[in-house]
Symmetry: C2
Subunit: 164 residues, 2 copies
DNA sequence: CGAGCCGGTTGCAAATCGAAACCGACTCCC
DNA sequence: GGGAGTCGGTTTCGATTTGCAACCGGCTCG
């Protein structure tokens, strides 16, 4: 139970050491998107802001940090650089399938902010494209075919539980 | 402003060129839990790790940072200090309703890590307590009474959109 | 030609982080 | 009664990261 590991060359908080973190997909996710700016960049890319200058202007992030975060996201396969002009080669950043799959997480973060901080109404509503109805994010049981309240969720160790 | 259309499975055709952070619940959420350690702390509290020393040992976080993050979470109403012994007054940290409501976000982060980084099987499975079936997190349309794929989600400005 | 845009990189001061030492209150054990 | 240990921190200090601003190369436009 005791953390005896001292990673000599950094690698992040829960990189390889902490027993709780070793077998946790949340820690794995945070390795990639555990940075505040990173999440805001992804939010902008989801909204259609894909170019360096646009992102910089919209977020107010320092340019060196933006460059760093973008290349890190590309390295992790969350974004990809797609050229949109050739004479001076200019690329925009697009979501890969892996990046687009983060929508669930961004929706969850947005939902929490909506519920606890949108005192004057929510800034953005997600709706069904076919009927325009506001959507909700839920946990579902495919067997019972019903939504499951948080109190009825149990967690079990899975097959990838670390062998420590 | 709207330049290239993003073909499949993306969120935002609603390219409101508004300054993002001001009118975004994601930014509001990140103000509270936008820190890497903060998320890991909350994950542990969800799992039942509630005492200072337990958290410190499990996470490997520096003590000063743990103290700082915990008090910040208490200030934001995500955690609350509950005494569990009185002679040396010792408190444990429990989730408030607001904190428990973050389960959605943590489940989403876990799900993404499961899908993209659990090469040797997922470390943890969430199951329905009554039937033991593994659960899934989905976006649902209450009107159509069906789950909605990411490609069918549209975003609209809500009533709290900042007056730009 | 000069101005300007775009997408960065470099340099530097300031804030933050991490490891370890220190601390007070209390209990346990001899 | 003294010494060791537990618990929940706070303090200290060096190392890393951040934010800001300046700079740069390629290219277009007037």
């Amino acid at each position: 139970m005791v953390d005896t590991e001292h990673p000599p060359s950094s690698g992040g908080p829960a990189a390889a050491a902490a027993p709780g973190a070793a077998s946790c997909s949340i820690a794995a996710t945070l390795e990639v998107v555990g940075d505040r700016w990173t999440v805001l960049i992804l939010r902008d890319v989801f909204r259609g802001v894909r170019r360096f200058a646009q992102l910089q202007a919209d977020l107010g992030i320092a340019r060196n940090l933006l460059a760093d975060r973008l290349s890190r996201l590309v390295d992790h396969g969350v974004l990809e650089r797609v050229p949109y002009q050739s004479r001076p080669v200019r690329c925009e950043y697009r979501l890969t399938a892996k990046g687009a799959d983060l929508s669930t997480a961004l929706i969850a973060l947005m939902g929490w902010g909506d519920r606890w901080y949108a005192d004057e109404g929510v800034p953005t509503i997600l709706v069904h494209d076919t009927c325009g109805t506001p959507l909700e994010q839920v946990v579902r049981c495919p067997h019972c075919d019903e939504t499951v309240n948080p109190g009825r969720i149990r967690s079990r160790p899975g097959p990838g539980r670390s062998p420590v």
